[in-house]
């Protein structure tokens, strides 16, 4: 139905006031959000970029402009390269594992009944827990004489792995803990996606002779494209920002930076080494990386949605 106003004098009045009314609406609804965004995101980003061009140190009385010196140093800094490599590994695990397992769990839970409702709550619980709480629990479980290794020893494993003390394993342990915590988020998003698939499509595919696998491949999976996009982008951002789990579980170790991600290195460089300018350069590089990868992932995944 279309409503058209008669071309009366009274109807023209609002059109003369339209710009003012628009400003009013903007101020009422848009300005608070915009101001928050400016104050909490954009201004700090600009300040950080500015700081990255200096030798800012909180314990020095003055700060000098150093141009791109911090960025040049980053290029040859093995600690930064290692942190970048660790971040890539954490990101790969945190993006892939919860996505794959989350989809599997969501398919298993896509049924009616109290048990399934309860199980959904169980899977979602880690998402709402504080990452510090999750980290403290897992750190206690995974120490060399923690519950996991005690169980393994009682099962006859004489030398169980040093989940957090072996430098070749610790990074994977931490990434798995983050993946475990994010699993529930993926489950919920995939469940919402699964419940949005019209049953008629499954019925039609079944009538055409498609089996369970065929129905998943040709009906369910394409219809889940928006859910895949949301999960992938959210997990990408979570993985790149990984800091709190690492701080609590390993403090970047065992050893020298074996589990240090870029986000972790930014904080330690700024507040342990006192090199705020250099840390700001690290964070600027991280921001550029996250932005570029997120945009690329979004474009790729949204193109898939459009092709539906």
């Amino acid at each position: 139905m279309t409503i058209t106003s008669p071309p009366s004098r009274t109807a023209r009045r609002p059109s003369r006031r339209a710009p003012l009314a628009g400003i009013g609406h903007f101020l009422a609804f848009g300005a608070p959000g915009l101001l928050l965004y400016l104050g909490l995101v954009l201004v700090p980003v600009i300040m950080s970029v500015r700081s990255s061009l200096t030798d800012e140190n909180p314990l020095h009385r003055s700060t000098r402009y150093t141009g791109l010196a911090n960025y040049r140093e980053l290029l040859g800094d093995p600690a930064f390269h290692r942190a970048l490599g660790n971040t890539v590994i954490v990101t790969a695990i945190v993006v892939v594992v919860p996505n794959v397992l989350g989809l599997g769990v969501a398919i298993l839970l896509d049924r009616r009944g109290r048990l399934y409702h309860a199980l959904r709550a169980v899977f979602f619980t880690p998402v709402v827990l504080s990452s510090v709480v999750v980290s403290v629990i897992w750190q206690a479980l995974l120490t060399d004489d923690g519950m996991v290794n005690s169980l393994l020893r009682s099962a006859g494993v004489d030398h169980p792995p040093g989940w957090l003390s072996d430098p070749s394993i610790a990074l994977y342990s931490v990434a798995s803990i983050i993946a475990w915590q994010m699993l529930g988020f993926c489950v919920v998003v995939y469940l919402a996606g699964l419940q949005g698939v019209p049953p008629e499509l499954h019925e039609a595919a079944a009538l055409d002779g498609a089996g369970a696998g065929g129905r998943f491949r040709h009906v369910t999976w394409p219809m889940l494209a928006p859910a895949v996009t949301i999960n992938t982008v959210m997990l990408l951002i979570t993985a790149f920002k990984a800091y709190d789990h690492i701080q609590v579980i390993t403090n970047g170790g065992p050893g020298d930076g074996t589990t240090a991600t870029i986000a972790f290195s930014v904080v330690t460089t700024a507040f342990t080494g006192n090199r705020i300018g250099y840390a700001a350069a690290m964070s600027t590089v991280m921001l550029a990386l996250v932005a570029a990868i997120s945009v690329l992932a979004l474009r790729f995944l949204q193109r898939r949605e459009v092709n539906l």
């Binding site: 060399d144 989940w163 609590v248 579980i249 390993t250 050893g255 507040f271």
Partner: protein, 434 residues
């Protein structure tokens, strides 16, 4: 309300939100203000450990506040035992606490963020010139903590047939071998979770006996560029730790245990020796393990006693506190209150460095043994600085100790050598003094 006024009101509300979100601070000049009744509010940064829990701090704050009325204290708690890193985060965001205890003043003092204690303030202190920065004192030197001593499990020593504590380093190695032969882990260290520092006590001990004993001012010389970490004496000390780990005398599984879990591992009899600061004495007396606990100094090669110790640990006051004289008065009241000092001795095994103080009666056997060992070393002039713990003009530059602890984990797990670690420390030193 008209649309226009509604919009303006919404914009104003948004602006207030942003200002509130970006302007709110929790300490320093940003937050300290007049409280109810016009009393200044001072923020006080504390930290919690198994010995120094929330109750301990709350009671001590209440006692000091009773002595200095007219001030309201807002307690802050560092998120981990590493309060130095946390203070720097607060300082960088303009939230330096008004009062802070046991925080390394290095850097903060030079940048003018702390106020110095006067000679009159320090008149009653045993070591009024401890840890100076540019000739001034920024932290009340209220107690001494030998760090580390070697606490040991008497039952496990007996089980391994060890009848006396080792006097020389060779005897120490022999005892480690005896323990190992009985499938007992000789030395427990920590280093897991956020507490990486807990792996560093063998380093501190070895540097004390092998480097500082011969050159007490070694670190001051390092600061002036006369020395480097690759000096043979320093590398030799690190090599001792590397060697202990290579022989399986240091329990590598400790690298996954945080500080509290490390102490618990010793209490659970998972290892025979626990190199730790004197604060463990209080813990051992308060919650007695199921075995006898003894203590001896980390042995030197020739058997002469060397005890690394640090005198300091007290209160520092921000130069931007809303009422600096009042903040200093409260800080001194906190540090010098007899009941607070007694509580510190009981809870943390402190050896108080304030004239005329005597410890409370009835202190436990481990504290008494620790105190006797310290007093004996003092008489023999066998005290040296505690490497990494020392602060001021003779302390490490910020950031290097963290690199040492991280590198020690690699040393223990065999991923690096003493030579490489020493080289890394020099590199880190150069970076952090840029």
């Amino acid at each position: 309300m008209s649309r226009r006024r509604y919009g303006l009101a919404a914009a104003a509300a948004g602006a207030v939100l942003v200002l509130a979100a970006t302007g709110c601070t929790a300490g320093g000049s940003g937050s300290s203000s007049a409280g109810s009744g016009g009393r200044p509010v001072l923020t006080f940064l504390t930290f919690e450990t198994p010995n120094l829990d929330a109750k301990y701090w709350d009671a001590a704050i209440a006692r000091a506040s009773a002595k200095v009325p007219g001030v309201k204290i807002k307690k802050l708690v560092a998120p981990s035992a590493d309060r130095n890193g946390y203070v720097k985060q607060l300082a960088a965001s303009g939230q330096l606490p008004d009062l802070m205890i046991s925080v390394n003043p290095d850097g903060l003092a030079q940048s003018g963020k702390l106020t110095a204690w006067s000679a009159a303030d320090l008149a009653d202190y045993v070591s009024p010139n401890a840890n100076p920065i540019g000739g001034k004192i920024y932290q009340l030197p209220y107690n001494t903590q030998p760090t580390p001593l070697v606490y040991y499990n008497k039952d496990l020593f007996a089980k391994a047939g060890i009848t006396a504590t080792p006097a020389t380093y060779q005897q120490f190695l022999d005892d480690c071998a005896k323990l190992k032969s009985k499938s007992i882990d000789p030395i427990i260290v920590g280093g897991g979770g956020k507490d990486t520092f807990a792996d560093g006590y063998p380093d501190i001990a070895a540097v004390g006996t092998d480097v500082y004993r011969a050159r007490p001012n070694w670190l001051a010389e390092r600061r002036s560029g006369k020395r480097s970490f690759t000096d043979p004496a320093f590398v030799g000390a690190l090599k001792k730790v590397q060697d202990l780990a290579a022989k399986g005398y240091i329990d590598k599984s400790g690298l996954s245990r945080d500080y509290a879990a490390t102490e618990q591992a010793f209490r659970d009899g998972k290892g025979a020796m626990y190199p730790m600061g004197s604060w463990f004495a209080a813990s051992a007396d308060a919650k007695k393990p199921g075995f006898g606990v003894g203590v001896f100094p980390w042995p030197s090669d020739d058997g002469k006693t060397v005890v690394p110790a640090y005198t300091g640990g007290g209160m520092s006051v921000s130069s931007t506190a809303p009422d600096v004289p009042l903040a200093k008065k409260w800080a001194k009241a906190f540090m010098e209150d007899k009941a607070n000092l007694d509580a510190s001795v009981r809870a943390d095994g402190s050896i108080i460095a304030i004239r005329g103080y005597t410890p409370p009666a009835g202190m436990g056997p481990v504290y008494r043994a620790t105190d006797a060992l310290y007093q004996d070393a003092a008489k023999r002039h066998a005290l040296v600085n505690s490497f990494t713990v020392e602060t001021g003009d003779t302390g490490l530059v910020p950031g290097v100790s963290d690199r040492l602890w991280a590198g020690t984990a690699d040393l223990i797990s065999g991923r690096t050598t003493a030579d490489e670690l020493a080289k890394n420390l020099d590199t880190e030193w150069a970076k952090d003094t840029k």
